[in-house]
């Protein structure tokens, strides 16, 4: 469904992505693991054009895009088909939970308000916030804010949702509620690309795991093989380290 070929990206002299290739099939839940600074966030941001890659190709179904020189029209088309969930939620502070979810539908997709609200309420119900439609972000806990952010991504009916460490900013007791929403999404067949440090999510929810280091994908494997019988030495030591924790 989505194929990324040979992404390169540097910030000044620092090469952050050095030829990353990635294939995503419909319904895949791909966990992306790797040490800090390995380029995980940059990879997701390039896929959604929040960052402009130096080179690379994206094939989305039958459409091919050059990741360096895509036009703003192409970028808009790609963004329409993807959702993004940020580490620190990035909710619109001047909108209610429902307003956050409907804003893109009404403004970007020119949907009627009533219809957008119907979709928005459904999305919020789905993440367990049916009693929080009219709350402003400042009145919600971190976990609730992140669930609103997920509802905002889901409401646009994307083909794939990109998550960048969705639980890393949360207090430990709030992580569970967000992960459970993500697990529900996965079981409904949503295609997801999830940068995470939650090993249990990678192990139990995702079907594929990617290990990134120094701007390259060291190993991509189905999650069972990745944890039980990895190919690469580097991944073996990584798994030993986390199981010791």
């Amino acid at each position: 469904m989505l194929e990324i070929k040979n992404i390169y990206k540097s910030f000044g002299d620092l090469e952050v992505l050095k030829g990353v290739n990635l294939t995503v099939n419909k319904g895949d839940v791909i966990a992306i693991l790797g040490p800090s600074g390995s380029g995980k966030t940059t990879l997701l941001r390039c896929i959604n054009f929040l960052e402009r890659a130096d080179s690379g190709t994206m094939v989305f179904d039958n459409d091919t895009y050059d990741m360096h020189s895509a036009t703003s029209k192409q970028i808009a088309a790609i963004r329409k088909r993807t959702g993004f969930v940020f580490q620190n939620y990035n909710l619109f502070a001047n909108k209610t939970a429902l307003g956050n979810v409907t804003e893109g539908l009404i403004v970007a997709r020119k949907m009627k308000k009533a219809q957008a609200e119907e979709i928005g309420k459904k999305a919020l119900d789905k993440v367990g916030l049916s009693d929080r439609y009219d709350y402003y972000p400042s009145q919600l806990s971190g976990g609730q804010q992140q669930r609103v952010a997920i509802a905002r991504a889901v409401a646009a009916n994307p083909e794939v949702i990109l998550f960048d460490e969705p639980t890393s900013a949360l207090d430990p007791e709030l992580i569970g509620e967000v992960l459970s929403v993500m697990r529900d999404l996965a079981s409904e067949g949503m295609t997801m690309l999830v940068v995470t440090h939650e090993i249990n999510f990678a192990r139990n929810v995702s079907n594929q795991v990617i290990f990134m280091e120094n701007g390259v994908i060291v190993e991509q494997n189905d999650s069972k093989t990745f944890f039980e019988n990895p190919r690469e030495e580097r991944v073996k030591t990584f798994i030993q380290n986390i199981s010791r924790e």
Partner: protein
Amino acid sequence: MSARIIEILINSFWDLLLAGIKVTIPLTVISFSIGLVIALFTALVQTAKIPVLKSLARFYVWIIRGTPMMVQLFVVYFGLPSIGILLPAFTSAVLVFSLSVGAYCSETVRAALESVPYGQIEAGYCVGMNYWQIMFRIIIPQALRTAFPPLSNSLIGLVKDTSLAYNVAIVEIMATAQRIASRTYDYFWLYIEAAFIYLIFCTVLQWLQRHFEAKLETKR
């Protein structure tokens, strides 16, 4: 204070108030509105980092902040005609006042725009909005809350600065007081009365400011 002075003050009160309502208020409202648009544009140009426009914006702010408004007013009203540009007094005053508001408020607006976390702009892009939609629906409404108190200050400052228009023959509050006083020779009392009219206007504005600030606060 004799009965004569009291009578003059009462009679002139309506003239002064009327001058305020017919001249000072329109001059303030028009100049401030145009000034805000200039300020917003100047601030956006600076935050959007468009090189040429950015240096132009800086140059403009530098000139306006570095020269007295009185001098600017004289250049526009008395100076421009000598190079063939004739502007009516009211237009000249509006031009100078709005450029001044634009320059001073652009810094306020820029700081307020930048106080909104950048992530919200990115989130806007991710849900498919374009730059202007994000600005007008997400960023500016939030920046307004931050900028509201300092902008109110500028507005109140402008009400008083409009008295400079007296120098280009605009019959606002000061000029009206001056005219009556030159007839009756009660300069002291009439200037006090003019001050009192400004005080009334500014008090109303301060009251409105507090009212709206409370309102903005509850909407958060």
